[in-house]
Point group: C2
Chain length 193, copies 2
């Protein structure tokens, strides 16, 4: 592995999608928010220089939960207890849908975001991390979409501009990283050094 330097000027955004995603039976659902996803993915996002971390859910009570976590760490007790956590959680923005997140990115003025999906079930014919890493230097916005629960629906995957290869590690086909771990590994491959 050769990671000689970081990517200068990369405009990378993250979506953590809670709807539409699959459940264990393959039905399309809206999943519950896991507070630790917010912490781990915002910390990774901040470490790897991500512009914004969109938590996408249409559910009012779940948006309230996200807002409670943000408030505690940004303006509440957590802000003074752990300032570096505050820095991370400031990356989070709520969005009702993936399309709303894309609208917000367009409003940042760097153009239309290229939507990138990752899936443990993706074909090995997907785009390589090396290829996408090189693309990130063009300064255009890239939106990495991670699915919760049992993963992204086929429609979300088919509508993406880029589907990355699945992450592999061992000698067999076991590939059950948590979304927190998967997001970290993807960010490290794309932006780490």
């Amino acid at each position: 592995m050769v990671l000689s330097k970081g990517i200068q000027g990369a405009n990378v955004y993250i979506v953590l999608l809670h709807h539409p995603v699959l459940n264990k039976a393959g039905d399309t659902i809206a999943s519950a928010v896991t507070p630790l996803d917010l912490h781990d993915i915002s910390r990774a996002g901040r470490t790897y220089g991500v512009r914004r971390f969109f938590v996408v859910t249409p559910l009012t009570d779940q948006k309230e939960l996200v807002q409670q976590v943000i408030d505690h760490w940004i303006t509440g007790y957590g802000a003074t207890f752990n300032p570096s956590r505050r820095e991370a959680l400031k990356l989070i923005a709520l969005a009702d849908t993936l399309e709303v997140a894309k609208e917000c990115i367009r409003a940042d003025g760097h153009g239309e975001p290229t939507v990138v999906v990752t899936s443990s079930r993706a074909h090995s014919t997907g785009t390589s991390y090396q290829t996408l890493r090189q693309m990130l230097g063009d300064g255009r916005p890239y939106l990495l979409v991670f699915g919760t629960a049992w993963g992204l629906t086929p429609e979300v995957i088919e509508n993406a501009d880029i589907c990355l290869k699945p992450i592999r590690g061992g000698a067999n086909d076991y590939n059950h990283l948590s979304v927190r771990s998967a997001a970290t590994a993807v960010l490290d491959r794309l932006l780490g050094y």
Copy 2:
């Protein structure tokens, strides 16, 4: 980044250390076990072909907590609800100390483990991931040690055989990955493809 293939025959072990580690004030403490660490790191360990994941704590109540999690997912309800989670959690072994974990690795018969530490505060003069990745092909046992709370004590770092470079990602010095994320990024750099 070039990850053309996995490492054949690597003997990689993980320790998640709860004592001795540092607290926020820099004192040496025994930290509480975070159940999600067990899930995320065992899932990553299983994905990247790790031999065993030692959860090191000397505290009786914390060992009981770990055992409860293991029991639920290996022989309890969780085993049938989510068999892939069962596969991951089977990697976990409890050990009172880092030395006990090393003894267990020696008993596997591949020789003395090389102890590898990672630290976000490590000097950039540490060993590169590429160098260690090449070493892993020699079939000898390597033990990756990850610290909980505010990280490994200076003594643990100084007594290690190898100290890896810190993981970097962004344009600044922000580096506050969770131990779950850090373990995933390290495993991906060493064993991913």
